[in-house]
Symmetry: C2
Subunit: 265 residues, 2 copies
């Protein structure tokens, strides 16, 4: 127990010394599964509320790089789609929900991990956090709690549990942003399996937008983007006409990501 604490103290000591104080990053990592948009959340050992995976910026590290690093640390994946969306700097944010929760965490932290005052103080400062959201292939991840957390799971956004601090607000803003982006960026490459039907794609859009779309027109609209490769048909075993399978044309997809989908004026 004591030896663990020493180990942890070393870990935290270097974390604190190599990171910028006062700034953090929180990642809203979106995945898609069972027709539901999900986010990767974790639960600290001492807490019942859930948190976003986050981390700190190294002293000699670009903030964007830190976001990529944190994403990779959590999911083992790299995402083309990793987007800064907002910085949360309300003074109350570290206290939201708040003092009690934090006091409890601090006590647990002291007891289990570190009781070095300097380190504790570092964490007790006010943090301004920058939110990034990513789209990843949920099936390629194997979320595991680390030594600080007891759970690490994909959770559907329309069924979110109680969240720590202002993490609910952060997720909400990320979802809003994702919905806006949907209007001018192609989405799906990282959320769907290699081969998928237009129905799959539509379900994804519906899960993100939380509203029903017209089938035939959605299909046309999508195909007109010219970023799909039509493959052989899929025999589903259902007693009806089988749909074509599609895959994303990677280069065209990425071109469209850069150029964006139409803007008037």
């Amino acid at each position: 127990m004591n030896s663990n604490k020493e180990k942890y103290t070393t870990i935290f000591d270097s974390l604190v010394s190599e990171s910028l104080p006062g700034n953090s990053i929180d990642c809203v990592i979106f995945g898609y599964n069972e027709q539901q948009l999900k986010v990767l959340l974790l639960q600290w050992k001492a807490e019942t509320g859930w948190s976003l995976p986050g981390g700190f910026i190294h002293v000699e590290e670009d903030m964007d790089h830190a976001a990529h690093r944190i994403l990779t640390e959590r999911t083992g994946l790299k995402s083309v789609f990793l987007n800064q969306f907002h910085t949360f700097g309300s003074k109350a944010r570290s206290k939201l929900n708040g003092t009690l929760q934090l006091k409890r965490m601090e006590a647990f932290f002291k007891e289990q991990y570190v009781d070095n005052t300097e380190i504790i103080n570092w964490f007790n400062k006010r943090f301004i956090t920058t939110g990034y959201f990513a789209l990843v292939d949920l099936n390629k991840t194997n979320p595991k709690p680390d030594f600080l957390s007891k759970k690490c799971e994909w959770i559907a956004i329309n069924n979110l549990p109680e969240l720590m601090l202002d993490h609910g607000e952060i997720i909400q803003k990320a979802v809003d942003q994702l919905r806006i982006q949907l209007n001018y960026l192609p989405i799906g490459l990282e959320l769907l399996p290699k081969k998928f039907t237009m129905q799959d794609l539509q379900k994804l859009y519906e899960a993100i937008l939380q509203l029903p779309l017209e089938r035939s027109n959605f299909q046309r609209k999508m195909l007109k983007l010219g970023i799909f490769i039509r493959m052989e048909k899929q025999m589903t075993g259902a007693s009806n006409k089988a749909p074509y399978l599609y895959s994303f044309d990677n280069t065209k997809y990425k071109k469209l990501l850069k150029k964006g989908i139409g803007f008037a004026y």
Copy 2:
């Protein structure tokens, strides 16, 4: 001279002690004048490059509040339209352009203002800056250089001077954002005088987008938004048909700001 330095040291001492270290705010304040979109820039006494007006976040202050405070300090105005648009966290950003410029500034700073090492070090740290952009009525402002700057002026965005550090990049991103917002938010309330013609509004849009728009269709499109109040005609003194004057219907404008201008799907 020495007494000035003492005064300045006091000012900076309290600035440093009351502000969060490592975080700053830069404001891209847009105004509109002579058919040109302009930004408020200032020039430090020691420098030829221009800077965005910026500042720091007080220890007990919301970041958004700090942005409003900085905007008001500079322009004396409050803007409904003050929007956080991006946080710049590249490690190179404090060094861009860079070391020489900063060395020069530091020397000047030490000589003219403060040579307290602690204060100098505070400023020499790496800063992560959050950009806000505002739309204000340029004619209601009276930009004056403060004790640190020799100039403070409205400068047209298509005629930008040499800029300090990464401020060029920050302005570019703000302009990009403004253009995107144009697609789904009404704009003009704070940039135009109370009464204006549709031509005025069109010129504003053209100045922002930097492209010509078709007169008659623009007019129709705008009026269809239903956020204008038609007033009496304006006798311009020109030998042609006089245009109607319009003003924004404040409540409808703000409703539309919240709801946004159409989004498909």
